[in-house]
Protein backbone atom coordinates (compact mmCIF):
# COMPACT_ATOMS: atom_id res chain seq x y z
CA UNK A 1 0.00 0.00 0.00
CA UNK A 2 1.45 3.33 -1.00
CA UNK A 3 1.49 6.21 1.50
CA UNK A 4 -1.68 8.29 1.40
CA UNK A 5 -3.79 5.44 0.11
CA UNK A 6 -6.54 4.67 2.58
CA UNK A 7 -6.66 1.19 4.03
CA UNK A 8 -10.20 -0.08 3.30
CA UNK A 9 -10.33 -1.75 6.71
CA UNK A 10 -9.61 1.42 8.64
CA UNK A 11 -13.03 3.01 8.12
CA UNK A 12 -14.75 -0.09 9.48
CA UNK A 13 -12.34 -0.05 12.44
CA UNK A 14 -13.05 3.64 13.09
CA UNK A 15 -16.78 2.99 12.85
CA UNK A 16 -16.48 0.12 15.36
CA UNK A 17 -14.44 2.20 17.83
CA UNK A 18 -16.79 5.14 17.44
CA UNK A 19 -19.90 3.03 18.14
CA UNK A 20 -18.21 1.51 21.13
CA UNK A 21 -17.11 4.85 22.58
CA UNK A 22 -20.06 7.00 21.51
CA UNK A 23 -22.16 6.55 24.65
CA UNK A 24 -19.22 7.28 26.93
CA UNK A 25 -18.27 10.43 24.99
CA UNK A 26 -21.83 11.77 24.87
CA UNK A 27 -22.46 10.93 28.52
CA UNK A 28 -19.29 12.73 29.62
CA UNK A 29 -20.09 15.84 27.60
CA UNK A 30 -23.71 15.83 28.76
CA UNK A 31 -22.54 15.78 32.35
CA UNK A 32 -20.07 18.59 31.82
CA UNK A 33 -22.18 20.88 29.64
CA UNK A 34 -25.70 19.84 30.66
CA UNK A 35 -26.78 20.03 27.01
CA UNK A 36 -27.59 16.88 25.05
CA UNK A 37 -27.67 18.54 21.64
CA UNK A 38 -24.29 20.11 22.19
CA UNK A 39 -22.94 16.74 23.39
CA UNK A 40 -24.23 14.94 20.30
CA UNK A 41 -23.03 17.57 17.85
CA UNK A 42 -19.57 17.67 19.38
CA UNK A 43 -19.34 13.85 19.33
CA UNK A 44 -20.31 13.89 15.65
CA UNK A 45 -17.67 16.51 14.87
CA UNK A 46 -15.05 14.46 16.70
CA UNK A 47 -15.86 11.55 14.39
CA UNK A 48 -15.26 13.72 11.32
CA UNK A 49 -11.85 14.73 12.70
CA UNK A 50 -11.06 11.12 13.64
CA UNK A 51 -11.82 9.86 10.15
CA UNK A 52 -9.43 12.40 8.68
CA UNK A 53 -6.58 11.96 11.20
CA UNK A 54 -6.79 8.23 11.86
CA UNK A 55 -6.87 7.36 8.15
CA UNK A 56 -3.64 9.27 7.81
CA UNK A 57 -1.84 8.59 11.11
CA UNK A 58 -3.49 5.37 12.30
CA UNK A 59 -5.67 4.81 15.36
CA UNK A 60 -4.18 6.39 18.51
CA UNK A 61 -3.36 4.20 21.53
CA UNK A 62 -6.34 5.48 23.55
CA UNK A 63 -9.04 6.20 20.95
CA UNK A 64 -11.77 6.76 23.55
CA UNK A 65 -9.74 9.41 25.37
CA UNK A 66 -8.81 11.00 22.04
CA UNK A 67 -12.48 11.22 21.00
CA UNK A 68 -13.49 12.71 24.37
CA UNK A 69 -10.73 15.34 24.28
CA UNK A 70 -11.49 16.30 20.69
CA UNK A 71 -15.24 16.44 21.29
CA UNK A 72 -14.76 18.56 24.44
CA UNK A 73 -12.62 21.08 22.48
CA UNK A 74 -15.26 21.20 19.76
CA UNK A 75 -18.00 21.79 22.31
CA UNK A 76 -16.05 24.65 23.89
CA UNK A 77 -15.42 26.15 20.42
CA UNK A 78 -19.10 25.97 19.70
CA UNK A 79 -20.03 27.65 22.97
CA UNK A 80 -17.47 30.38 22.29
CA UNK A 81 -18.94 31.04 18.85
CA UNK A 82 -22.44 31.35 20.24
CA UNK A 83 -23.10 34.95 21.09
CA UNK A 84 -25.92 34.76 23.62
CA UNK A 85 -25.23 36.06 27.05
CA UNK A 86 -26.37 32.82 28.66
CA UNK A 87 -23.95 30.69 26.69
CA UNK A 88 -21.02 33.02 27.41
CA UNK A 89 -21.89 33.08 31.04
CA UNK A 90 -22.04 29.30 31.08
CA UNK A 91 -18.79 28.99 29.21
CA UNK A 92 -17.05 31.18 31.75
CA UNK A 93 -18.24 28.89 34.50
CA UNK A 94 -17.24 25.74 32.68
CA UNK A 95 -13.76 26.98 31.89
CA UNK A 96 -12.96 27.39 35.55
CA UNK A 97 -15.22 24.89 37.23
CA UNK A 98 -15.07 21.33 36.07
CA UNK A 99 -16.56 19.81 39.21
CA UNK A 100 -20.06 18.33 39.08
CA UNK A 101 -22.67 20.71 40.44
CA UNK A 102 -24.36 18.20 42.69
CA UNK A 103 -23.25 15.25 44.74
CA UNK A 104 -23.55 12.13 42.62
CA UNK A 105 -23.68 9.60 45.41
CA UNK A 106 -21.61 6.45 45.45
CA UNK A 107 -22.07 5.99 41.73
CA UNK A 108 -20.57 8.51 39.33
CA UNK A 109 -20.55 6.76 35.97
CA UNK A 110 -21.59 9.22 33.27
CA UNK A 111 -23.30 6.59 31.16
CA UNK A 112 -25.39 5.34 34.05
CA UNK A 113 -26.52 8.88 34.78
CA UNK A 114 -27.46 9.28 31.16
CA UNK A 115 -29.49 6.04 31.19
CA UNK A 116 -31.43 7.27 34.23
CA UNK A 117 -31.96 10.62 32.51
CA UNK A 118 -33.27 8.92 29.36
CA UNK A 119 -35.55 6.71 31.50
CA UNK A 120 -36.96 9.52 33.63
CA UNK A 121 -40.63 8.91 34.50
CA UNK A 122 -41.52 12.35 33.07
CA UNK A 123 -40.66 11.02 29.58
CA UNK A 124 -43.05 8.75 27.67
CA UNK A 125 -42.06 5.06 27.92
CA UNK A 126 -41.67 4.60 24.14
CA UNK A 127 -39.38 7.63 24.01
CA UNK A 128 -37.14 6.26 26.78
CA UNK A 129 -36.01 3.30 24.69
CA UNK A 130 -35.42 5.37 21.57
CA UNK A 131 -33.47 8.02 23.45
CA UNK A 132 -31.32 5.42 25.23
CA UNK A 133 -30.51 3.78 21.89
CA UNK A 134 -29.64 7.13 20.36
CA UNK A 135 -27.54 8.60 23.15
CA UNK A 136 -25.88 5.50 24.57
CA UNK A 137 -26.05 3.03 21.73
CA UNK A 138 -25.11 5.59 19.12
CA UNK A 139 -27.73 4.22 16.74
CA UNK A 140 -28.76 6.60 14.00
CA UNK A 141 -32.25 8.06 13.93
CA UNK A 142 -32.91 6.04 10.76
CA UNK A 143 -31.93 2.78 12.51
CA UNK A 144 -34.11 3.55 15.51
CA UNK A 145 -37.03 4.52 13.28
CA UNK A 146 -36.67 1.22 11.45
CA UNK A 147 -36.57 -0.79 14.65
CA UNK A 148 -39.80 0.85 15.81
CA UNK A 149 -41.68 0.86 12.48
CA UNK A 150 -41.88 4.64 12.51
CA UNK A 151 -40.96 7.12 9.82
CA UNK A 152 -37.57 8.75 10.23
CA UNK A 153 -39.01 12.26 10.42
CA UNK A 154 -41.49 11.23 13.11
CA UNK A 155 -38.73 9.56 15.16
CA UNK A 156 -36.47 12.59 14.77
CA UNK A 157 -39.29 14.77 16.05
CA UNK A 158 -39.91 12.54 19.08
CA UNK A 159 -36.23 12.57 19.99
CA UNK A 160 -35.97 16.34 19.56
CA UNK A 161 -39.03 16.84 21.73
CA UNK A 162 -37.64 14.57 24.44
CA UNK A 163 -34.29 16.34 24.47
CA UNK A 164 -36.06 19.70 24.62
CA UNK A 165 -38.09 18.54 27.59
CA UNK A 166 -34.95 17.34 29.37
CA UNK A 167 -33.33 20.73 28.80
CA UNK A 168 -36.25 23.09 29.44
CA UNK A 169 -38.02 21.24 32.25
CA UNK A 170 -34.58 20.60 33.74
CA UNK A 171 -34.69 16.86 34.11
CA UNK A 172 -31.49 16.37 36.11
CA UNK A 173 -28.52 14.29 34.93
CA UNK A 174 -28.17 12.04 37.90
CA UNK A 175 -28.71 8.63 39.33
CA UNK A 176 -31.69 9.12 41.64
CA UNK A 177 -31.39 8.99 45.40
CA UNK A 178 -31.94 5.66 47.13
CA UNK A 179 -35.65 6.31 47.80
CA UNK A 180 -36.34 7.00 44.09
CA UNK A 181 -34.12 4.24 42.84
CA UNK A 182 -36.52 1.29 42.85
CA UNK A 183 -39.20 2.67 40.50
CA UNK A 184 -36.64 4.24 38.18
CA UNK A 185 -34.42 1.19 38.16
CA UNK A 186 -37.51 -0.74 37.02
CA UNK A 187 -37.87 1.58 34.01
CA UNK A 188 -34.15 1.33 33.23
CA UNK A 189 -34.18 -2.48 33.34
CA UNK A 190 -37.31 -2.55 31.17
CA UNK A 191 -35.61 -0.38 28.55
CA UNK A 192 -32.46 -2.50 28.48
CA UNK A 193 -34.55 -5.68 28.15
CA UNK A 194 -36.63 -4.14 25.33
CA UNK A 195 -33.45 -3.28 23.45
CA UNK A 196 -32.23 -6.84 23.92
CA UNK A 197 -35.51 -8.37 22.76
CA UNK A 198 -35.66 -6.17 19.70
CA UNK A 199 -32.23 -7.52 18.79
CA UNK A 200 -33.09 -11.10 19.64
CA UNK A 201 -36.27 -11.28 17.59
CA UNK A 202 -36.41 -8.19 15.41
CA UNK A 203 -39.98 -7.00 14.93
CA UNK A 204 -39.30 -5.82 11.41
CA UNK A 205 -36.71 -5.40 8.73
CA UNK A 206 -34.88 -8.20 6.94
CA UNK A 207 -32.69 -9.45 9.75
CA UNK A 208 -34.11 -11.99 12.19
CA UNK A 209 -31.43 -11.15 14.73
CA UNK A 210 -29.75 -7.83 15.33
CA UNK A 211 -26.44 -8.61 16.98
CA UNK A 212 -25.66 -4.90 17.36
CA UNK A 213 -28.73 -4.43 19.57
CA UNK A 214 -28.18 -7.52 21.74
CA UNK A 215 -24.53 -6.52 22.15
CA UNK A 216 -25.52 -3.00 23.20
CA UNK A 217 -28.11 -4.32 25.68
CA UNK A 218 -25.50 -6.68 27.16
CA UNK A 219 -23.01 -3.85 27.45
CA UNK A 220 -25.60 -1.68 29.24
CA UNK A 221 -26.47 -4.64 31.48
CA UNK A 222 -22.82 -5.17 32.39
CA UNK A 223 -22.43 -1.44 33.11
CA UNK A 224 -25.44 -1.51 35.44
CA UNK A 225 -24.07 -4.59 37.14
CA UNK A 226 -20.67 -2.98 37.68
CA UNK A 227 -22.33 0.05 39.22
CA UNK A 228 -25.02 -1.70 41.26
CA UNK A 229 -23.43 -5.02 42.20
CA UNK A 230 -25.84 -5.62 45.07
CA UNK A 231 -29.13 -5.21 43.18
CA UNK A 232 -30.38 -8.75 42.52
CA UNK A 233 -32.71 -7.69 39.69
CA UNK A 234 -29.74 -6.12 37.87
CA UNK A 235 -27.89 -9.43 38.18
CA UNK A 236 -31.07 -11.24 37.14
CA UNK A 237 -31.52 -9.21 33.97
CA UNK A 238 -27.87 -9.65 33.01
CA UNK A 239 -28.12 -13.41 33.63
CA UNK A 240 -31.31 -13.59 31.57
CA UNK A 241 -29.69 -11.79 28.65
CA UNK A 242 -26.48 -13.86 28.85
CA UNK A 243 -28.36 -17.17 28.90
CA UNK A 244 -30.53 -16.07 25.96
CA UNK A 245 -27.61 -14.68 23.98
CA UNK A 246 -25.67 -17.90 24.59
CA UNK A 247 -28.18 -19.77 22.43
CA UNK A 248 -27.97 -17.36 19.53
CA UNK A 249 -25.49 -19.38 17.40
CA UNK A 250 -27.97 -22.30 17.26
CA UNK A 251 -31.08 -20.26 16.88
CA UNK A 252 -31.34 -19.84 13.11
CA UNK A 253 -30.78 -22.80 10.78
CA UNK A 254 -28.83 -22.85 7.52
CA UNK A 255 -32.13 -22.36 5.69
CA UNK A 256 -32.79 -19.11 7.57
CA UNK A 257 -35.61 -20.59 9.66
CA UNK A 258 -35.86 -20.19 13.42
CA UNK A 259 -34.83 -23.33 15.33
CA UNK A 260 -36.93 -23.88 18.49
CA UNK A 261 -35.23 -24.62 21.79
CA UNK A 262 -35.98 -28.35 21.69
CA UNK A 263 -34.31 -28.79 18.29
CA UNK A 264 -31.28 -26.56 18.84
CA UNK A 265 -27.75 -27.98 18.61
CA UNK A 266 -26.73 -27.54 22.24
CA UNK A 267 -23.08 -27.99 21.34
CA UNK A 268 -23.34 -24.69 19.46
CA UNK A 269 -24.32 -22.73 22.54
CA UNK A 270 -21.72 -20.36 23.93
CA UNK A 271 -20.47 -22.25 27.00
CA UNK A 272 -18.73 -19.18 28.44
CA UNK A 273 -21.93 -17.11 28.45
CA UNK A 274 -23.90 -20.04 29.90
CA UNK A 275 -21.41 -20.41 32.76
CA UNK A 276 -21.45 -16.67 33.46
CA UNK A 277 -25.26 -16.67 33.48
CA UNK A 278 -25.48 -19.66 35.79
CA UNK A 279 -23.06 -18.06 38.26
CA UNK A 280 -25.24 -14.94 38.39
CA UNK A 281 -28.41 -17.01 38.92
CA UNK A 282 -26.72 -18.81 41.85
CA UNK A 283 -25.75 -15.44 43.29
CA UNK A 284 -29.40 -14.30 43.06
CA UNK A 285 -30.60 -17.47 44.78
CA UNK A 286 -28.24 -16.74 47.65
CA UNK A 287 -29.61 -13.18 48.04
CA UNK A 288 -33.15 -14.60 47.98
CA UNK A 289 -35.08 -11.49 46.93
CA UNK A 290 -36.63 -12.87 43.72
CA UNK A 291 -37.97 -10.54 41.06
CA UNK A 292 -39.23 -10.81 37.50
CA UNK A 293 -35.86 -10.88 35.76
CA UNK A 294 -34.32 -13.25 38.29
CA UNK A 295 -37.16 -15.74 37.79
CA UNK A 296 -36.90 -15.50 34.00
CA UNK A 297 -33.16 -16.04 34.32
CA UNK A 298 -33.74 -19.06 36.56
CA UNK A 299 -36.10 -20.55 33.95
CA UNK A 300 -33.42 -20.07 31.32
CA UNK A 301 -30.87 -21.62 33.66
CA UNK A 302 -33.00 -24.78 33.89
CA UNK A 303 -33.12 -24.98 30.08
CA UNK A 304 -29.41 -24.39 29.61
CA UNK A 305 -28.62 -26.87 32.37
CA UNK A 306 -30.11 -29.81 30.44
CA UNK A 307 -27.60 -31.69 28.24
CA UNK A 308 -30.48 -32.56 25.87
CA UNK A 309 -34.02 -31.19 25.50
CA UNK A 310 -35.41 -34.46 26.91
CA UNK A 311 -33.45 -33.92 30.14
CA UNK A 312 -35.21 -30.60 30.90
CA UNK A 313 -36.61 -30.41 34.42
CA UNK A 314 -40.06 -29.24 33.31
CA UNK A 315 -41.69 -29.38 36.73
CA UNK A 316 -39.02 -26.97 37.96
CA UNK A 317 -39.88 -24.69 35.02
CA UNK A 318 -43.61 -24.83 35.89
CA UNK A 319 -42.80 -24.05 39.54
CA UNK A 320 -40.75 -21.00 38.50
CA UNK A 321 -43.55 -19.77 36.23
CA UNK A 322 -45.97 -20.14 39.15
CA UNK A 323 -43.81 -17.77 41.17
CA UNK A 324 -43.46 -15.42 38.21
CA UNK A 325 -47.24 -15.36 37.79
CA UNK A 326 -47.59 -13.82 41.25
CA UNK A 327 -45.40 -10.88 40.16
CA UNK A 328 -46.72 -10.66 36.60
CA UNK A 329 -50.29 -11.98 36.29
CA UNK A 330 -50.43 -11.06 32.58
CA UNK A 331 -51.47 -13.50 29.85
CA UNK A 332 -48.01 -13.75 28.21
CA UNK A 333 -46.51 -15.33 31.35
CA UNK A 334 -49.52 -17.68 31.52
CA UNK A 335 -48.92 -18.65 27.88
CA UNK A 336 -45.27 -19.50 28.50
CA UNK A 337 -46.25 -21.44 31.60
CA UNK A 338 -48.71 -23.47 29.53
CA UNK A 339 -45.88 -24.57 27.22
CA UNK A 340 -44.13 -26.09 30.25
CA UNK A 341 -47.42 -27.55 31.53
CA UNK A 342 -47.76 -29.42 28.22
CA UNK A 343 -44.53 -31.24 29.00
CA UNK A 344 -45.60 -32.16 32.54
CA UNK A 345 -49.37 -32.76 32.26
CA UNK A 346 -49.81 -33.27 28.51
CA UNK A 347 -51.09 -31.15 25.61
CA UNK A 348 -54.78 -31.42 26.51
CA UNK A 349 -54.36 -29.72 29.91
CA UNK A 350 -52.10 -27.08 28.34
CA UNK A 351 -54.53 -26.35 25.49
CA UNK A 352 -57.36 -25.76 27.96
CA UNK A 353 -55.17 -23.17 29.71
CA UNK A 354 -54.08 -21.53 26.45
CA UNK A 355 -57.68 -21.27 25.22
CA UNK A 356 -58.61 -19.28 28.30
CA UNK A 357 -56.11 -16.53 27.45
CA UNK A 358 -57.22 -13.40 25.67
CA UNK A 359 -54.30 -13.20 23.21
CA UNK A 360 -55.90 -13.58 19.75
CA UNK A 361 -53.68 -11.85 17.19
CA UNK A 362 -50.48 -12.47 19.19
CA UNK A 363 -48.22 -14.69 17.07
CA UNK A 364 -46.86 -16.75 19.97
CA UNK A 365 -50.39 -17.60 21.14
CA UNK A 366 -51.34 -18.91 17.70
CA UNK A 367 -48.04 -20.77 17.33
CA UNK A 368 -48.46 -22.42 20.76
CA UNK A 369 -52.04 -23.47 19.96
CA UNK A 370 -50.86 -24.87 16.63
CA UNK A 371 -48.19 -27.03 18.30
CA UNK A 372 -50.60 -28.32 20.95
CA UNK A 373 -53.28 -29.12 18.34
CA UNK A 374 -50.63 -30.96 16.31
CA UNK A 375 -49.79 -33.14 19.29
CA UNK A 376 -53.48 -33.85 19.77
CA UNK A 377 -53.61 -34.86 16.06
CA UNK A 378 -56.17 -32.17 15.24
CA UNK A 379 -54.41 -31.33 11.96
CA UNK A 380 -57.03 -29.14 10.31
CA UNK A 381 -57.27 -26.84 13.33
CA UNK A 382 -53.49 -26.82 13.69
CA UNK A 383 -53.11 -25.75 10.06
CA UNK A 384 -55.46 -22.80 10.58
CA UNK A 385 -53.50 -21.77 13.68
CA UNK A 386 -50.17 -21.87 11.82
CA UNK A 387 -51.74 -19.59 9.21
CA UNK A 388 -52.87 -17.19 11.93
CA UNK A 389 -49.40 -17.23 13.53
CA UNK A 390 -47.66 -16.56 10.21
CA UNK A 391 -50.03 -13.68 9.51
CA UNK A 392 -49.26 -12.18 12.93
CA UNK A 393 -45.46 -12.01 12.66
CA UNK A 394 -43.18 -10.01 10.38
CA UNK A 395 -39.97 -11.77 11.42
CA UNK A 396 -38.68 -13.70 8.37
CA UNK A 397 -36.99 -16.52 10.33
CA UNK A 398 -40.08 -17.11 12.42
CA UNK A 399 -42.31 -17.16 9.32
CA UNK A 400 -39.98 -19.65 7.66
CA UNK A 401 -40.09 -21.93 10.70
CA UNK A 402 -43.88 -21.79 11.03
CA UNK A 403 -44.38 -22.49 7.31
CA UNK A 404 -42.16 -25.55 7.55
CA UNK A 405 -44.03 -26.83 10.60
CA UNK A 406 -47.34 -26.37 8.82
CA UNK A 407 -45.99 -28.30 5.84
CA UNK A 408 -45.19 -31.36 7.98
CA UNK A 409 -48.71 -31.76 9.39
CA UNK A 410 -50.44 -35.05 8.79
CA UNK A 411 -53.18 -34.62 6.19
Amino acid sequence: MSPGEADPGIDAEIERIYRHEYGRVVAGLARRFGDLDLAEEAAGEALVVALERWRRDGVPPNPGGWLTTTATRRALDRLRRESTRGARHREALLMYDDTPHEPTGAVADDRLRLIFTCCHPALAPEVRVALTLRLLGGLTVAEIAQAFFVGEAAMAQRLTRAKRKIARARIPFRVPAAEDLQPRLGAVLAVVYLIFNEGYLASGGDAALRGDLTAEALRLGRTLRELMPREPEVAGLLALMLLTEARRPSRVGADGALVPLAEQDRGGWDAGLVAEGHALVRECLAINRPGRYQLLAAINAVHTDAPAAADTDWSQVVALYDRLRVLDPGPVVALNRAVAVAEVDGPEVALAEVDRLDLAGYHAWHATRAELLRRLRRSAEARAEYDAAIAATANPAERAYLSRRRGTLAP
Binding site: G86, R168, R170, I171
Partner: protein, 117 residues
Protein backbone atom coordinates in the same frame (compact mmCIF):
# COMPACT_ATOMS: atom_id res chain seq x y z
CA UNK B 1 -32.94 27.58 39.79
CA UNK B 2 -35.92 27.26 37.50
CA UNK B 3 -39.43 28.53 38.09
CA UNK B 4 -42.28 26.08 37.60
CA UNK B 5 -46.02 26.60 37.32
CA UNK B 6 -47.87 24.03 39.40
CA UNK B 7 -51.49 24.31 38.26
CA UNK B 8 -54.35 22.47 39.90
CA UNK B 9 -56.88 20.84 37.59
CA UNK B 10 -60.24 19.44 38.53
CA UNK B 11 -62.55 17.26 36.46
CA UNK B 12 -66.24 17.95 35.77
CA UNK B 13 -67.50 15.80 38.62
CA UNK B 14 -65.03 16.81 41.31
CA UNK B 15 -65.32 20.00 43.28
CA UNK B 16 -63.48 19.96 46.59
CA UNK B 17 -64.77 23.46 47.45
CA UNK B 18 -68.43 22.47 46.95
CA UNK B 19 -71.37 24.12 48.62
CA UNK B 20 -70.45 22.81 52.03
CA UNK B 21 -67.55 24.93 53.30
CA UNK B 22 -67.19 22.80 56.43
CA UNK B 23 -66.30 19.79 54.28
CA UNK B 24 -63.66 21.83 52.48
CA UNK B 25 -62.00 23.00 55.67
CA UNK B 26 -59.45 20.13 55.94
CA UNK B 27 -58.38 20.81 52.35
CA UNK B 28 -57.81 24.50 53.02
CA UNK B 29 -55.86 23.67 56.14
CA UNK B 30 -53.69 21.18 54.28
CA UNK B 31 -52.99 23.74 51.55
CA UNK B 32 -52.07 26.32 54.23
CA UNK B 33 -49.57 23.91 55.72
CA UNK B 34 -48.14 23.17 52.27
CA UNK B 35 -47.77 26.89 51.56
CA UNK B 36 -45.92 27.35 54.84
CA UNK B 37 -43.51 24.58 53.85
CA UNK B 38 -42.88 26.20 50.46
CA UNK B 39 -42.06 29.49 52.24
CA UNK B 40 -39.88 27.84 54.87
CA UNK B 41 -37.79 26.08 52.22
CA UNK B 42 -37.43 29.09 49.95
CA UNK B 43 -39.41 27.56 47.09
CA UNK B 44 -42.38 29.95 47.31
CA UNK B 45 -42.79 32.57 44.59
CA UNK B 46 -46.54 33.11 44.32
CA UNK B 47 -49.75 31.14 44.65
CA UNK B 48 -53.48 31.61 44.54
CA UNK B 49 -56.78 29.85 44.38
CA UNK B 50 -59.22 30.95 41.69
CA UNK B 51 -62.91 31.80 41.89
CA UNK B 52 -65.18 29.29 40.12
CA UNK B 53 -64.94 28.94 36.35
CA UNK B 54 -68.26 30.79 35.77
CA UNK B 55 -66.62 34.04 36.92
CA UNK B 56 -64.34 33.97 33.84
CA UNK B 57 -64.39 36.60 31.08
CA UNK B 58 -62.46 36.14 27.83
CA UNK B 59 -60.98 39.13 26.02
CA UNK B 60 -59.94 38.93 22.37
CA UNK B 61 -58.17 41.97 20.93
CA UNK B 62 -56.29 40.07 18.24
CA UNK B 63 -58.60 41.55 15.60
CA UNK B 64 -58.33 45.19 16.73
CA UNK B 65 -61.19 46.23 19.02
CA UNK B 66 -61.41 44.00 22.08
CA UNK B 67 -64.29 41.55 22.04
CA UNK B 68 -65.48 40.45 25.47
CA UNK B 69 -67.09 37.06 25.99
CA UNK B 70 -68.68 35.79 29.16
CA UNK B 71 -67.01 32.47 29.98
CA UNK B 72 -63.73 30.63 29.33
CA UNK B 73 -62.03 30.67 25.91
CA UNK B 74 -62.69 26.96 25.44
CA UNK B 75 -65.46 24.79 26.80
CA UNK B 76 -63.78 21.95 28.64
CA UNK B 77 -64.77 19.46 31.27
CA UNK B 78 -61.62 20.19 33.25
CA UNK B 79 -61.09 23.50 34.96
CA UNK B 80 -58.20 25.33 36.53
CA UNK B 81 -58.72 25.63 40.26
CA UNK B 82 -55.59 27.49 41.27
CA UNK B 83 -51.85 27.46 40.98
CA UNK B 84 -48.46 27.85 42.59
CA UNK B 85 -45.37 29.40 41.09
CA UNK B 86 -42.36 27.81 42.74
CA UNK B 87 -38.61 27.87 42.39
CA UNK B 88 -36.81 24.54 42.23
CA UNK B 89 -33.34 23.34 41.23
CA UNK B 90 -34.67 20.76 38.77
CA UNK B 91 -37.73 18.82 37.62
CA UNK B 92 -37.32 16.11 40.27
CA UNK B 93 -37.59 18.70 43.02
CA UNK B 94 -40.58 20.34 41.30
CA UNK B 95 -42.29 16.95 40.96
CA UNK B 96 -41.84 16.28 44.68
CA UNK B 97 -43.49 19.61 45.51
CA UNK B 98 -46.26 18.81 43.01
CA UNK B 99 -46.96 15.47 44.69
CA UNK B 100 -47.20 17.18 48.05
CA UNK B 101 -49.42 19.92 46.61
CA UNK B 102 -51.70 17.41 44.93
CA UNK B 103 -52.16 15.54 48.18
CA UNK B 104 -52.89 18.79 50.03
CA UNK B 105 -55.45 20.25 47.61
CA UNK B 106 -56.95 16.93 46.45
CA UNK B 107 -56.56 17.83 42.78
CA UNK B 108 -54.36 16.80 39.90
CA UNK B 109 -51.33 19.07 39.55
CA UNK B 110 -49.70 19.90 36.23
CA UNK B 111 -46.03 20.89 36.28
CA UNK B 112 -44.70 23.22 33.62
CA UNK B 113 -41.41 25.10 33.53
CA UNK B 114 -41.30 28.84 32.86
CA UNK B 115 -39.15 29.98 29.94
CA UNK B 116 -35.69 30.89 31.13
CA UNK B 117 -34.60 34.46 30.27
Amino acid sequence: MTQYLLSVHHGADEDPYAEDPEAARPVFEAVDRFNQRLRAEGAWVFAGGLEPIDTTTTVDATGGEPVLTDGPFAEAKEWLGGFWVIEAPDLDAALRWAAEGSRACQGRVQVRPFQSE
